[in-house]
């Protein structure tokens, strides 16, 4: 019975070979391109997020509050108004940092380091440039950031042996025309000046870091800042980066300081990805819609051409449902064939894309287009195509099934 339906459907399709092929190709192109596009989009997104997760602390706790501290007058009067008020500069940093670290270690699955970030000016020879210094524990720093892996000269742990050692970005070193072993003079805004010895150079690929960033021992930073024992940042690296949002919220509840997950810090970027995905699905949807029109068109033509056959089948005793099934399966067959072909096309395209090489200016590394192979893409593209094809087949099928055989038979005689 079902084989009879498909037999009849196949003769119809075969009778319109070229148009059928065009329709199938339309579906295949839609499916293939959407798979390749999804692989590329997902690939670039994955790569970007991975580099984000690698480069940034997963949770960044600073000595700020989400709500600025309330003014004393607020606490007493309902309608207090201020003008020209600036918050008092808080030089204390994160209070009770040691307790906070202990608490974090108790429930956070990962590592944390307490550090002091200081703005300063670096001088060497005649050159002078602004620099962001992070005073940290080199051993812990290696666990929570990727500076350790990005070292071009020297090692991060060399800092431990020289209390006034400094590790800086390679571009900054170029700017100051200094190299490993040279001395750089660092002055804080509080006019404290110390000489630091360059023990290492890093290259992270993030221009802002390579240009104006330096790592020193925590104690040295505290001296430069004139804030003994102060810490103004705790950076956390989690074993599961995806849990950062929850962990950040938990930390903030626990210690009160503003704790920002990497997702929150990059909200707008992640939003942009989301919008990009919507655009992608719209484009893919449009391609498949056009393919659907192709199928609609050809099944409609077949139902018109075969109206005599429909009348015969109905006079022989075929039910409306049988007629619907015949033409629906024609649309479905085209959708299925197109999907299979589209899978092959998408797979091939993805392979070709992933083998495309290109060089980024100055950088020495050769980069491939990032692609992600995900069966989901194949499933989604094919489901879209098959739903479109089924709808495109169903509409003319329904019309054909309602055809009155007497009208046709009378017309023919």
């Amino acid at each position: 019975m079902l084989s009879l339906i498909t037999d009849i459907a196949l003769t119809h399709i075969a009778g319109r070979g070229r148009q059928t092929l065009v329709s199938i190709l339309g579906v295949a192109l839609g499916v293939g391109f959407s798979i390749a596009m999804a692989a590329l989009m997902q690939g670039s997104q994955d790569e970007f997020v991975t580099s984000l997760i690698d480069a940034l602390p997963h949770v960044d706790i600073t000595d700020e509050y989400r709500d600025p501290p309330r003014q004393p007058a607020d606490l007493v009067f309902d309608l207090a108004a201020y003008s020209n008020l600036r918050p008092r500069e808080d030089t204390r940093g994160i209070l009770n940092a040691t307790e906070a670290m202990t608490a974090l270690r108790a429930f956070v699955d990962g590592n944390a380091v307490a550090s002091l970030k200081v703005q300063a000016v670096a001088r060497a020879g005649g050159a002078e440039t602004g620099i962001t210094l992070t005073g940290t524990d080199p051993a812990r720093e290696a666990l929570i950031s990727s500076f350790d892996e990005d070292m071009r000269k020297g090692k991060l742990e060399d800092l431990r042996a020289s209390p006034f050692g400094i590790v800086i970005g390679d571009k900054l070193a170029d700017k100051l025309t200094i190299d490993i072993g040279d001395t750089v003079v660092v002055s804080s805004t509080g006019d404290i000046t110390r000489r630091f010895k360059v023990t290492g150079l890093f290259h992270t690929g993030v221009v802002a870091q390579d240009n104006a960033y330096g790592l020193v021992n925590l104690k040295a930073a505290q001296i430069i800042a004139g804030r003994p024992n102060a810490v103004n940042e705790i950076r956390v690296r989690l074993n599961d980066a995806q849990s950062a949002r929850d962990v950040a919220a938990q930390i903030e509840r626990l210690i009160g300081y503003k704790s920002v997950s990497w997702q929150e810090a990059n909200e707008s970027l992640l939003e942009a990805f989301f919008i990009r995905n919507i655009i992608m699905f719209t484009v893919v949807g449009a391609i498949l819609l056009v393919a659907g029109f192709g199928i609609f068109n050809i099944v409609s033509i077949i139902t018109h051409e075969k109206s005599r056959d429909i009348a015969i089948l109905k006079s022989l005793g075929f039910a409306e449902r049988d007629i619907r099934l015949i033409f629906l399966s024609e649309g479905l067959a085209m959708g299925l064939a197109g999907s299979l072909l589209g899978w092959a096309l998408g797979f091939g395209l993805t392979k070709v894309l992933s083998s495309v090489k290109f060089e980024i200016e100055q950088a020495t590394e050769i980069t491939h287009l990032p692609v992600t192979f995900d069966l989901m893409h194949y499933g989604v593209a094919a489901s879209f195509a098959i739903i479109a094809a089924a709808t495109a087949g169903y509409l003319p099928a329904r019309k054909a099934s309602r055809l009155n055989p007497v009208d046709i038979i009378r017309g023919a005689t």
């Binding site: 009879l4 015969i312 006079s315 022989l316 005793g317 075929f318 023919a412």
Partner: protein, 238 residues
């Protein structure tokens, strides 16, 4: 004899069919007709008298505006389109003036289509029965040809074979020899006659050919959608 076979195989009771429209057209009016098993009925009448319309109504392809058609004594007015289709599949076989074979299928496949739709035989049995039918109609060597490789008379014989595929109680034929030469006409006519004489089925055939009508066992003459005369020369098997 069972009660089922005692009842007329097809009967019309006060049947009228009016096509709706700004000017309604009456196709047939007040038809009362009982056709029993083993009858060989000619429906005659001038062109436009409603012969085809009557046949479509008796074959459940069309639905009367008033009155009813009974198949084997059972009323059909409460059946929906798919139930009527199933009744056609099991008990009625149509032959039209033009062969109406499916052009992409071979002779044999055209005959097995109604059997496959009914699904009561295995594929092998279907092919065997189709071949038997073709053999019986002198078409045994044409099984694997397509309709466009056959002559008009051969196609019409295939159409008869297809109508017989599911062992219907009744064959309804609308000018089955209308487009055939005299030799083919004779062949097809004798096949229809054999269906009645040898197999005891009922054949109802619309015809313009007075000669043929004279050789059938009962003649129903229509004029303007009404039965003008109904003459039985030889009654069917009872």
């Amino acid at each position: 004899m069972s009660k089922l076979e005692a009842a007329p195989v097809i009967s019309a009771h006060g049947m009228t069919r009016i096509l709706p429209g700004t000017v309604p057209v009456t196709l047939v009016k007040d038809i009362d007709l009982e056709i029993g098993h083993g009858e060989f009925v000619a429906i005659t009448g001038p062109s436009g008298s409603g012969k085809s319309s009557l046949l479509y109504l008796l074959g459940l392809l069309d639905v009367p505006t008033e009155g009813a058609v009974h198949i084997n004594g059972a009323p059909t007015e409460d059946l929906d389109a798919d139930e009527r289709a199933h009744l056609r599949l099991e008990t009625l076989g149509f032959v039209f003036q033009f062969h109406f074979l499916l052009p992409e299928f071979t002779t044999l496949d055209n005959i097995t289509i109604p059997m496959r739709r009914l699904g009561k035989r295995s594929r092998k049995e279907m092919d065997e029965r189709a071949q038997e039918l073709l053999d019986a109609l002198g078409m045994g060597d044409q099984a694997h040809k397509r309709p466009d490789q056959l002559s008009g008379g051969q196609r019409q014989r295939v159409a008869v074979a297809r109508a017989l595929a599911n062992d219907p109680a009744v064959i309804l034929a609308d000018e089955p020899t209308g487009s055939l030469d005299s030799k083919s006409t004779e062949q097809v006519f004798s096949i229809l006659k054999d269906i009645v004489d040898k197999e005891g089925r009922t054949v109802v055939a619309v015809t313009h050919d007075i000669d043929l009508a004279e050789r059938m066992y009962r003649r129903v003459h229509l004029i303007d959608g009404r039965i003008d005369s109904d003459v039985t020369i030889k009654s069917g098997k009872r």
